[in-house]
Structure formats: structure tokens, C-alpha cells
Symmetry: C2
Subunit: 215 residues, 2 copies
């Protein structure tokens, strides 16, 4: 059985292109594998807390020395990390806001990338002291953006801090396989947008086939 963690971060509950794309993905997957499990973490509707000075101090305190207050500060982080640990595939559906993640999605990453939980830090490893403790996970990013040309070689490649940032950060959640399906041209609302939606929907079937082939 495959377990998915679906993280949706659009602030929009209705008329969200990224949420609709995720619905298509989960519907297609369910049709193929009806017993697989989806955990849904809707951070667009309920964003995680920002990390605080006290949160950082709690994280750097040895587990057995943490106060009750420190433990309660980490409850949300513990729960969000548990959802990742239990999952084989992380499905993130998100709009691009101001050329990067919505703040709510960044707040989720800041809660879940955690020393001694999802990565270890050992200076004996030399110049690359961080290593993820989890592994073998796949990330599927379903994104929507107003403009276009964010691919490698595109006119806005240099402005794209959504997919490349998520890819970098997700290494520390044990992700070693990465897919992105993107809808572009939303602000233009023209034929190119319609084609981009069409392409994304048909790419989803291909991505599902690829991932399912490795099950």
C-alpha cells in the first residue's frame, strides 16, 4: 500500500487551479489503487505557526531535557513530521506567490525540517555536515503561476524560486525523486493558459504511470 501526504497551500478554497489539479491527481490515483491512503494537510486553510525563538531553543534541547512547555511548543512539528514519516509520496499543490512559496507553505517547511528528526548535523562529515534521516520518498509538486517561462531555459528561469526551492528543501525530508507539473499563464487567461491546463492534466496521467510502474 502506498501512503500519500497531500499538502495543499492555496489560500483559495474555491477556484484554486492547484487544488483542482491535485483533485485530478488523487482521483486518477484512486481509480487505479482504491485502497491507497491519502493524508490531507490543508495548510492554505490552516497555516502552521511561524517558528519562534522558543521553538528554536526547544529543538536544540535534548529530548529528555525538554520542559513540558517546550514539548507543547513542538507538538505541531511532531505531528507534521509524523505525517511525512508515514508517507511514501508527498504531493504538494501550491500556487506561486511572488515568485516563491506562499508563506504558509514555507511555515510548513520551517516546522518539518528539524535537526535530529528529519536530519542530523555532524561536523565530522566535513563541509557537508547535514544528512537527511529519511529516504526513498517521492515528491510530486503541482503548481500554478500567473506568468510563464519558469522552466530551465525559460525567460523567467532566474525568477523561479518555487520548484527549485522546494526541491532543495525536500531533500531534508527524505525526498530523492521529484516530479513537477505546472500550470502557467493564469494572469493572461488566454489560449496559452487553456493549453497549459490541458498539458498539465495529460502530464498527470503520465506521472502517475511512471510512479505506479515503480510500486
Amino acid at each position: 500500500m502506498t501512503t500519500f501526504l497531500h499538502v495543499s497551500s492555496s489560500a483559495r478554497k474555491h477556484n484554486s487551479i492547484s487544488r483542482a489539479l491535485a483533485k485530478e491527481f488523487t482521483n486518477q490515483w484512486h481509480a487505479k489503487f482504491p485502497t491507497d491512503k491519502f493524508i490531507h494537510r490543508d495548510i492554505g486553510s490552516a497555516p502552521p505557526n511561524f517558528i519562534s525563538e522558543e521553538w528554536i531553543a526547544a529543538v536544540f534541547t535534548l529530548e529528555e531535557k525538554r520542559t513540558d512547555k517546550q514539548n507543547s511548543l513542538l507538538t505541531l512539528s511532531d505531528m507534521l513530521i509524523k505525517e511525512i514519516t508515514e508517507s511514501d509520496i508527498i504531493l504538494i499543490s501550491t500556487p506561486m506567490y511572488n515568485y516563491g512559496m506562499p508563506a504558509s507553505l514555507k511555515a510548513w517547511f520551517d516546522q518539518v525540517i528539524r535537526v535530529n528528526k528529519t536530519f542530523t548535523l555532524d561536523l565530522d562529515r566535513g563541509d557537508f555536515p547535514l544528512e537527511p534521516t529519511l529516504s526513498g520518498k517521492t515528491l510530486v509538486l503541482l503548481s500554478a503561476c500567473g506568468e510563464f517561462g519558469f522552466d530551465v531555459g525559460g525567460v523567467r528561469e532566474e525568477m523561479n524560486h518555487l520548484g527549485p526551492h522546494i526541491r532543495t528543501a525536500s531533500k531534508y525530508l527524505g525526498v530523492d525523486e521529484y516530479y513537477e507539473v505546472r500550470i502557467e499563464y493564469q494572469e493572461f487567461g488566454d489560449q496559452r493558459h487553456a493549453r497549459s491546463i490541458e498539458n498539465a492534466y495529460s502530464t498527470i496521467s503520465k506521472v502517475i504511470k511512471q510512479i505506479a510502474g515503480k510500486k
Copy 2:
């Protein structure tokens, strides 16, 4: 008179390297120009709200048609944008969290980059329909990160979604001149970190000289 908007986004109030660097900057500037004005927006201590579906709807409603509730949803955004409009120089001091902005800083950007306020959207402009309404501003980014090699050509260049992202986004706040002073190697706490701090402190004097020369 030059007006600075200092945005500080470290979750740490004590022992924050980026806050200390900003203090050095403001002290040096004050020594040169004692009557210049600094507005301090401490988003590390008090992060702005995440934008919501209702916030987006309010932003896209014509000003004269907004309800009282919509106006009150935009109060914070209005205030934060006013601080930018009044400033000649935006000084952002921030740590790198998970290879990008702290979520609190992204929440600030999501509140202040706003259609018909800091940029206009006009499809008659063709493939580049967005244009900032503000101009002539300088951004000074003072950053601190645990690892190293985030510069162009560095071993972690591809992982750097802090400075390049801020640079991309700040165009829509009227920024057309950009400086970054970065302290690296924090996690290593070794000689390289000490040297990096030293370099940053001496670079600050040079940046101040450059900016002051254009006053």
C-alpha cells in the same frame, strides 16, 4: 534626509547574527547622518498575517467598492506598504531558514507586493504585463546562514533561494539597486565563520560609503 525601512526577521531576539549586523549598519549610518530616519518593522517578533482567500478578494475589489470588512482586512497591508513608500532604502536583516526566507519574511512580501498599490497589471504590455509603481529604492540585505558557498559559482549556489528570491521580489517594491552582505559558516563555528563575520563588518562600511556617495 534619507529614510530607511529596517525589516528584521530573525525569530531570535538575542544572539541573532543578522540583527547584530543590522545594528552595526544603523550605528555606522547614524554616526555619519544623525538626522536620518529609521522605521523599524520587527517581523521576527511579530510576523504579519498570512494572506487569505478573503484578503485576495479584497485586493482585487475596486477601492471604492470595498466593504468595511475588506478595508479592515487590508489595514496591515496598507500600513506596511506606507512604510515602504516613505522609505528611500529598505534594509532587510534576516537569517536563511531552509535555504530561503523565514516564513515571516515571506508573509511580509505577500502583504506588500500588491496589485494597484506597488505594481500594475496591464495585458496590453504583452508578455511582461507587470510593472512596479514605485521606483528609485535601494535594498540592503544583511543575511546570515549556517552553511557556505551560496554565491554565484559557489558549491551551494543552486541551493540559494534567499538573496536571489528577495532580489526578484523587491523589484515590485520599486527597488533598482541592490546590495547583500552575508555571514556564512554559522553551523561550523570555526575560523572561517570568524573571518566571515569580520568580512561582513568591514563590507558594511564600504556599502555605506557607496550608498552615501549617491546621496
